[in-house]
């Protein structure tokens, strides 16, 4: 167990000088307030009539005025239980803890920043719990491991709920601690704290003592990293955090469990079907949990020469998008291998499915990849199953089949190249238009990033999928997919979390940020600045929830009335939102609005130079709706 040492403020400490900057003006403001006329009370305005209701108590008034104060300290606890909790959390290898502070988690908060020296994990100040969870979501999609998230009881969890649901839908590891305490505000305690989000948790527990905490902390880690990866939550009663540690406790041994592989008999059946098929197709889905997953899928494709649906806009990259076999290929498939929710068959094709999503099938929600499908469904992790499948295929492929595969591969490659070129030619649409086309933005960026180690961290579907079509994506961090459950408010914080994970690799992180999404919780811009997270954010500012404009247009015309009212509630105009100023108010460099496509390249060059020096930058570009 680590010993407590008195430490001087580290590199992450907030400098007093910085904190007091502007104090003079604040003091002037205070003086102005003091000199201002006293406010007239409502009672005085009514002519001094006495209220009929009973007077509230001092305690009620204090609470209503948000004057909640810490209780008096009756004794010093130099070694609380939460110090041991930090020992366990450090052993689990967390780099960061994303959190918005709350009284119910005060004990663990204090131990993390003092006993844990605010290092591994380092506390990330988040301005909304949804941002904290979405940051962890984006981080996990780069790092393949969870970020710790600390949530205040009841209120913090409810703020976080949408982001937890997205993480569940996207099958990413997410490790949450929450507190349970009625010491400050009774409504922040609950009998069953995790109940409000349990439908989209894989596992949760409220340990009764420290020994249970250690076991549960490790079990929670296993549960969240084992496919299907999904959110977990531990509930920490406030007294368990703050009570004195009675005796030194060792951290239990931590071992990473192996993901479940498909059984050999099933893999042999699949191998036989694939080798005998005339035109097999592989749908990659979420099959690549790690870089090794991409390598394995390429090996499988090179062996079998099938068509490979590698990169849906919703999922992280699983197959290089410029591989000759990437695409629908030529002809209709007769056998389909779906890996981790890659699709559910087509026409008369016999469909085999290897998916860990089956293990989440009892949950209440039907999210991406969780729907059952296939003629033969094998509940296992696809990436873990591929080595044995490849081995079985090698045993079955004869020289005759090899020649047939090669011929097939050539046809697929030709068809895919033709399709790719045709799609790219449509990028000319609106090339010189203002508002600016998303294809133009994507094209202008490419020559500036292609020689960098870049990472595109925002959902592609809202921008016509242009980055996925234009950019050469071959690595896991080149594209991290979408929200998981389609919940808005994910984009900006997930991008910041992904950029944080990319920082230590020196990667250039790019976020093409939809305007509607940013406005859910824009405070994450401040978090990016505060923690010096380099990130290029380019606003996809089409001034509305344009998908909803389309749907509302359909609703009105389907009812044959008020088609010119579809903008009500769906657009973000009058006034237009000034995102460059928004960025500046959070301390971030902001530029724009940019409306002329000719101004893109110089602005991108300026911005990339700043990002490469380590700072987040926002460029506001006014854009077409999608394409």
């Amino acid at each position: 167990m680590a010993k407590i040492k008195q430490t001087s403020p580290g590199k992450n400490a907030v400098g007093r000088r910085g904190f007091l900057k502007g104090a003079a003006s604040a003091a002037a403001g205070t003086a102005a307030l003091a000199a201002a006329p006293q406010l007239v009370s409502a009672q005085e305005r009514r002519g001094g009539a006495q209220p009929s209701a009973p007077q509230p108590s001092d305690a009620t008034l204090a609470r209503d005025a948000r004057n909640v104060r810490p209780g008096a300290v009756t004794g010093v606890t130099e070694r609380p239980n939460s110090d041991y909790m930090v020992d366990v959390l450090k052993a689990l290898g967390f780099e960061y803890v994303a959190a918005n502070p709350g009284t119910s988690t005060g004990g663990i908060h204090e131990s993390l920043i003092n006993y844990g020296r605010n290092s591994a994990p380092e506390w990330l100040t988040c301005l909304h719990e949804e941002s904290a969870v979405a940051m962890a979501h984006g981080y996990a999609k780069i790092e393949n491991k969870p970020m710790l998230v600390v949530l205040h009881g009841t209120v913090g969890i409810q703020h976080a709920a949408m982001a937890i649901y997205n993480a569940y839908g996207d099958r990413v590891p997410l490790y949450m601690l929450t507190g349970n305490s009625d010491a400050a505000v009774p409504s922040h305690a609950a009998v069953d704290m995790a109940a409000m989000v349990r439908d989209f948790l894989k596992w949760d527990h409220q340990p009764k003592n420290l020994a249970q905490f250690a076991q549960s902390a490790i079990r929670a880690y296993h549960q969240t990293i084992l496919p299907p990866m999904a959110p977990v939550m531990l509930v920490l009663d406030s007294p368990l955090q703050t009570a004195p540690l009675q005796q030194p406790m060792a951290v239990p041994k931590i071992t990473a469990p192996a993901p479940p592989s498909a059984d050999l008999a099933s893999l042999r059946e699949i191998a036989k079907a694939l080798v005998n098929a005339e035109n097999p197709r592989i749908s990659a889905g979420r099959s690549a949990r790690t870089s090794a997953g991409i390598t394995l899928l390429v090996e499988l494709a090179d062996l079998l020469q099938p068509s490979v649906n590698g990169n849906g806009d919703q999922t992280r990259i699983a197959f290089p998008n410029r591989h000759p076999l990437a695409g629908a290929g030529a002809g209709q498939p007769d056998v389909i291998l779906n890996l981790e929710g890659g699709g559910f068959g087509g026409g008369r094709a016999k469909t085999y499915s290897i998916t860990s999503a089956e293990f989440l099938a009892t949950k209440n929600y039907n999210v991406n990849g969780n729907a059952p499908g296939g003629d033969v469904v094998i509940a296992a992790d696809a990436e873990a199953s591929l080595p044995a499948l490849i081995e079985e295929l090698r045993k079955l492929i004869t020289p005759d089949r090899r020649r047939a595969f090669d011929e097939r591969g050539k046809k697929h490659a030709e068809a895919n190249a033709q399709t790719r070129a045709q799609i790219l030619e449509t990028a000319r649409n609106g090339w010189d238009a203002s508002p600016i086309s998303l294809a133009r933005i994507t094209a202008e960026l490419w020559p500036l990033i292609k020689d960098e180690d870049w990472s595109f961290v925002s959902p592609g579907s809202f921008m016509g999928d242009w980055p996925n079509r234009m950019w050469n994506m071959s690595k896991l961090h080149h594209y991290i997919g979408a929200q998981g459950a389609g919940g808005m408010g994910y984009g900006a914080p997930a991008a910041v979390g992904a950029a944080l994970a990319n920082r230590k690799y020196g990667r250039l992180t790019i976020n093409i940020q939809t305007d509607g999404d940013l406005n859910y919780a824009p405070g994450v811009l401040w978090t990016a600045v505060h923690h010096k997270i380099p990130l290029l954010t380019i606003m996809h500012n089409n001034r509305g929830y344009q998908q909803e404009v389309m749907f509302m247009a359909r609703e009105t015309t389907a009812r044959n009335r008020g088609a010119d009212n579809a903008h009500i509630g769906t657009t973000l105009i009058e006034p237009n939102i000034d995102y460059a100023t928004m960025a500046k108010c959070y301390g971030m460099y902001g530029e724009g609005p940019i409306t002329d496509p000719k101004e893109l390249a110089p602005a991108f060059k300026r911005a990339i130079a700043m990002v490469k020096k380590g700072q987040p930058v926002l460029l506001d570009t006014v854009t077409q709706v999608r394409g």
Binding site: R322, A417, R420, A421, L424, E425, A427, R428, N429, G430, W431, D432, A433, P435, S437, L438, A439, A443, E444, W446, P447, G464, M470, N472, Q546, V549, M550, M552, A553, R554, T556, T557, A558, N560, R561, G562, A563, D564, A566, H567, Q624, V625, R626, G627
Partner: protein
């Protein structure tokens, strides 16, 4: 000969009638309607960016355009109750005023990307 003359005269009369029936569209107003009636949400402000069909260059005659919008194959139905013929004529004029994009072959940046994708 008399029959041929009659046919020519009839065709001329029909063309004149069609010409007379074509409404005079106001492109400036059409721009406003294009926005207010949400055409842009599927076709883009440019008439060529979005999930809807490319409208530029407009290949339909005014009559064909109106007929399609009233009874479309793949978009919401805009009846005469929600948008008038005159407004559609304005929108048609606006779409016809929108510039086409340069050919892909004339965009070096795009050509570089297409070449590198092969």
């Amino acid at each position: 000969m008399r029959t041929v003359t009659r046919i020519v005269l009839l065709a001329a009369a029909l063309a004149a009638a069609a010409q007379a029936q074509e409404l005079t569209g106001n492109a400036a107003k059409g721009k406003e309607w294009f926005f207010n009636y949400n055409c842009y949400s599927c076709h883009g402000f440019s008439g060529q960016n979005g999930p809807g069909n490319r409208l530029v260059p407009m290949k339909m005659s005014q009559a064909e355009f109106m007929a399609y919008v009233r009874k479309p194959a793949r978009m919401p139905i805009y009846s005469a109750k929600v948008i008038s013929d005159q407004q559609l004529a304005d929108i048609w004029a606006h779409i016809r005023s929108l510039p086409d994009a340069p050919a892909a072959a004339d965009i070096p940046l795009l050509q570089d990307i297409i070449k590198s994708s092969k």
